[in-house]
Structures are given as structure tokens and as C-alpha cells.
């Protein structure tokens, strides 16, 4: 009799593998800029007009969105330089530009194109970068993000994150979707959709998988899904609730919160669901684990002291220290990628805000001013924090720089957006 069920399950399996569809796109608005912005002229690349993607527009939009650059209009410079040696620096210093980007797009015999660009310091009259990419026209957006990454890194000293991806959850009516998009909000792809809530997406540090929690089976179950194949497997489906997945830096295992032995407690589990190992035994709530970049400790939320606070567990010794001192509600810790501090959510009066704390000084800076800011996720260069907020009764995403100066809002028309997760740097 059980054999009869197989066709039904097969159909289900097929339905689970439907191809991705593009969904409502996030629009990013910059609300505030950095204290100083670097003026940069990006000259449209020679030959780029022959292709549908406006390459240099994407580069310029990336840099402008960071809040650290000001674009200088190249109109009026004739002829437009395409190589470093064609540049007359006086054209650019006269327009107030400190840096100039020029380049070209040249078709190759095999149908691919060579994109070549030069970044120059207009004041010192030196070349800072010269890079060439041979790509298909379909890779133009990715190439533009790579160029923006190079420019950002050369001029700020920090890694660029324009080539990274973000994941987030949308809710539209009864429909929940987990999407992955480029860091500028473009090209959103639905990787899971469900009629029951999805939450807590988190990227494997190697960028190949996303772990998330789904209530599709009327209880929280953690899944791990491959981005390349769409295949997913149950990571944790024990008696009770299974939630709060957090990857170890080597992507081999995760910390999760399970209630299988009574109460919400933190366990380690291999990425294939094997080898469950309890980390601590407290009579309190322990949840929201987050690994330090060196993998040697985790931050987590616990109410063992009477109110939810952030603690640090050193894995080798089992020593637990309380990290947050002030306030009655400090939750959702996430390490900064340099390991020197963490962001978290604190409640102050009636509002929930994202704050940043330094490990050495214990100094706290509140970064956001909303009333329901939650689920912070740090960019892999540590410079921007993406978080969920609320505007007009609707969930939106927002980003703030780690110094609190640059602010962005990411919205999608008529859709609740929540639970952002910033992906790792692309190798």
C-alpha cells in the first residue's frame, strides 16, 4: 500500500524544484552620506553603448550608494579618454574630481568581450589600478560590481561588497518567500516559497548554502539549501522547536537552538545534520548563537540573569561572560568581521534599535532611530549593517554604516520585507 504513495511524493519532489522566478525588486534610497565624500569621475567606457547593460552607470550607482563617493559629471570632456595615457588630468581636477575611471569594452572573436578599466588619482597623477576582464555580455552586471569593488578598495582601503549577495524574506498576503538578490537589490531570485512563515536565513561562509527555519510542518524545522542545485535537506527536525541556525566559519557545522531536551538550548551540529552535541546546560533560554570569525567563541542571547542579555562562550574552556551591561533587553548578537566587536538589538523604552559594541572598551553606540529595528546582518567588510525596520506599518530593510553616518532604505512596493542576511565576499 505504501508503494502507492510514491508517485505523489515524486510529484512533490518535482514541484519542489521549480525554476526560480524574478520577484519584486528592492529599491535602495540613500538617506544620509558620510562625513566626507570622495569626488570621482567615471567616464562612460568606449564601446559600452553597444551593449544593453549600462556598465559605468552600475559602477557609479554602486559607489554613490555607499555614501562615500560623489560622482563628477564627465559631460564636456572631448574626446572622452578610454586609456590611462589619454587622460589630461587638468580636465578632471578642474571639475573637482580627485579620481578618474576610464575604460573600454571590446568584442572578442569568440563572442565574449574584453572590459578594461583604469583608475587614476587625478591629484597625484598616478595610476591606482588597471584591470581587464574577458566576459560574456550576460556577466556585465557582475563585472560592473567587480570594477566598483576594485575602485572602493583602492580608494577606501576596505574590501568592496558590491559583488556580494543578500538574502531576505518577503511576505505578501499569505505567501512567504526567501529571496537572494545582488547587493544593489537587482536580480532577486526566489529560492523557497511557502504558505507558512520562513525566518532566520543565514549564509554558509563559503557562499554555497543558506540555512533557514521553516514552519511549513507546523513547527520550526531548520533546513540547509544549496544555491547551485536548489536541493535542500533537513538540518534539524527534533522533537520540539529547531531554530536559530548559525554557521561556523569553516562552513562544516552550525550552532542551532533545540528544545528537544527541554528548554531552548544551543547545540553544535554538522552541516549534514549529524553529530549533535549540546554546548551548555542552563535552565534559562539560550539562543541566537553567532560564531566569532576565528571560530573560537560564540555570542548568544540568554535570560539566565533574569532579562535577555548577550553572553560570550569560549568554546575551548566553556567559560561564559556577560557582554551587555546596560538595559533590560539586549538580543540578536552578530560579530563584526574583524572580531573586534558586535552589533545587536537593544530595547530602550518602547523602541528596538540596532547598536554596536566594542569588545575592548565595552562602549556602545546606538546606530538606528526606528521603533522596531531588528535582525541586523553585517556586510562582510564590516562597514554596513543591514537590518529589518518598519515604515508605514510595513516591513522594510534598511542599512546603516558602522559609524552611523550613512543610511539607506531598501523597499519593495506593497511587500513586507524582513530577515536580511548579507552573503560572504565572493571568492
Amino acid at each position: 500500500m505504501i508503494r502507492l504513495l510514491r508517485p505523489a511524493l515524486l510529484l512533490l519532489a518535482l514541484a519542489l524544484c521549480l525554476a526560480g522566478t524574478a520577484r519584486a525588486q528592492l529599491t535602495i534610497d540613500i538617506i544620509g552620506g558620510g562625513a566626507t565624500t570622495l569626488p570621482i569621475a567615471i567616464v562612460p567606457f568606449a564601446g559600452e553603448a553597444n551593449y544593453p547593460y549600462p556598465l559605468t552607470e552600475i559602477v557609479g550607482a554602486d559607489l554613490a550608494r555607499s555614501g562615500l563617493f560623489r560622482l563628477i559629471d564627465p559631460v564636456g570632456v572631448n574626446p572622452r579618454p578610454a586609456r590611462a595615457e589619454d587622460i589630461r588630468f587638468a580636465d578632471w581636477t578642474g571639475r573637482g574630481a580627485d579620481a578618474v575611471v576610464v575604460g573600454s569594452v571590446t568584442p572578442q572573436s569568440d563572442g565574449r568581450v574584453e572590459v578594461r578599466f583604469f583608475l587614476l588619482d587625478a591629484v597625484k597623477q598616478t595610476q591606482l589600478a588597471a584591470v581587464s576582464y574577458v566576459v560574456t555580455p550576460a556577466q556585465f552586471r557582475a563585472t560592473a560590481h567587480q570594477i566598483a569593488d576594485v575602485i572602493y578598495e583602492k580608494l577606501t582601503g576596505d574590501a568592496g561588497v558590491f559583488s556580494t549577495r543578500i538574502a531576505y524574506i518577503t511576505k505578501q498576503g499569505p505567501r512567504y518567500e526567501l529571496l537572494v538578490a545582488e547587493a544593489d537589490g537587482y536580480n532577486p531570485q526566489t529560492i523557497v516559497n511557502s504558505n507558512e512563515p520562513l525566518l532566520s536565513p543565514t549564509w554558509s561562509p563559503d557562499g554555497t548554502r543558506i540555512a533557514y527555519v521553516s514552519l511549513e510542518s507546523k513547527k520550526p524545522i531548520i533546513y540547509v539549501q544549496s544555491l547551485a542545485t536548489g536541493q535542500r535537506q533537513v538540518l534539524a527536525n527534533f522533537r520540539g522547536s529547531n531554530s536559530a541556525p548559525a554557521w561556523a566559519p569553516d562552513s562544516s557545522r552550525l550552532a542551532v537552538t533545540l528544545s528537544r531536551d527541554g528548554g531552548s538550548q544551543i547545540y553544535l551540529i554538522n552541516a549534514d545534520g549529524s553529530g549533535v552535541q549540546r554546548l551548555m546546560s542552563s535552565g534559562a533560554i539560550d539562543t541566537e548563537a553567532n560564531f566569532a570569525p576565528d571560530g573560537k567563541s560564540i555570542l548568544f542571547t540568554s535570560d539566565r540573569g533574569g532579562s535577555p542579555q548577550i553572553y560570550r562562550l569560549t568554546l575551548a574552556t566553556g567559560v561564559v561572560e556577560r557582554m551587555t551591561i546596560e538595559g533590560s533587553y539586549n538580543v540578536s548578537p552578530r560579530h563584526l568581521p574583524d572580531g573586534k566587536g558586535f552589533v545587536f538589538v537593544r530595547r530602550d523604552g518602547g523602541s528596538f534599535n540596532v547598536a554596536i559594541q566594542d569588545f575592548a572598551t565595552r562602549q556602545v553606540q546606538v546606530l538606528t532611530q526606528g521603533t522596531l529595528d531588528e535582525s541586523p546582518s553585517v556586510a562582510p567588510n564590516g562597514k554596513l549593517i543591514l537590518y529589518a525596520s518598519e515604515s508605514g506599518g510595513r516591513g522594510i530593510l534598511a542599512a546603516v554604516s558602522s559609524d552611523g553616518r550613512v543610511k539607506q532604505r531598501l523597499t519593495a512596493a506593497a511587500i513586507d520585507v524582513r530577515e536580511p542576511a548579507w552573503g560572504p565576499l565572493r571568492k
Binding site: M1, I2, L4, L5, A8, L9, L12, A15, L16, C17, L18, A19, G20, T21, V180, Q189, T190, I191, V192, N193, S194, N195, E196, P197, L199, S200, L215, E216, K218, K219, P220, Q225, L227, A228, T229, G230, Q231, R232, R239, G240, S241, S243, T257, S259, G263, I285, T287, E288, T301, P308, Y329, V331, S332, V345, R347, F352, E374, S375, G393, E419
Partner: protein, 188 residues
Amino acid sequence: MKQLNLGSSMPMLWATALLATLLAGCASPPPEKSATEDQTVVATTPGSGAGTKGATGSGVTGNVAMQGNPLRDPHSVLSKRSVYFDFDSVVVKDEYKPMIEAHAKYLQTTRTAKLTIQGNCDDRGSREYNIALGQRRADTVKRMMQLYGATDAQIETVSFGNEKPKNSGHDEAAWAENRRDDLVYVGE
């Protein structure tokens, strides 16, 4: 990138229901709709009344779906299925103790019955921390039922955190409705 479509979870429910039906050797049709989706609520003044869940579309596991089932009798205390909590509290108020005791006695006398307690929170604060808070609310009621004679194996406690609010409003009345445990018998 490949997409997972969980919108087709109904085939799975059907398959599960069909399997249960086949194993039970009875010929009742599969349920039209999951009983937990039936939000027919009777007398829910927030914080005082307990909601009554209609048990439509049952008939999967023989015991629970029998004629004259006390779980379906609207006059039975067993028809009460929600326990409401104060803000940031896991304390079970006295008014819910008779109802919790009645369910525990039912479980004690009906050893084949299995219950899921679903903990819920209002929508303020961390989603993951709220999963843990809802879990604690569910665990509290489970422990009470065990004291009254139900066994550990009969009760699974799970949490929806603030993901499945009964009332989607953002005021105290809505929040009070959302801070609750729902009791759902397996097979309903």
C-alpha cells in the same frame, strides 16, 4: 538558481493523511483542510476566554475522530484550546487550570491521544528570542499536564514565536490575543 515551491505542501498532507487512513484500515476521505487553520473563535475576550477550535476535516486517526468525541463537544471544557499569558510572562493564570487539568485527564485516560502545544508571542522583539519565549510558554503548560497525569510521550511542545499571530494588530488588545498556547490534538 533553483527554487523550492512549498506552496504544494497539500500533496504532502494528502499523502500523509492517505497513509494514515490506509494504515488505520478505515475508508474515510482525506481531510479537506488542516484543522489548525480553522480559526473559528468563540468568546475570546482577550486574556479571559479561550478560543474554540473547530475540528473540521478530522477522521484520520480513529480514536480522536469517534462519534461523541468529547474533544468536539462544544459544551465540554475540552473544547477550550487556548491559554493566554500576560506580557513577558509564562505564569499560567488560575482561570486556565481547570481546562489544562481536563486535557491532562483526557490524555491520561486516552493513552493513544497525542497533543501538540503551540506557544506564541506578541510581535515585539527578536523573532528568534520569541521562538524561545513561546517554547517556554508551551513547556510550562506541558509540565502542568504531566503533573495531572499526562505522559511526556503524549505531548510535543513547539513554538511559532511571533510568526503566526491570531490578531495582526499592533495594540495591546492584539498583543494579548497573540500571547498564548494553542492545544492541537494530533490528527485534528
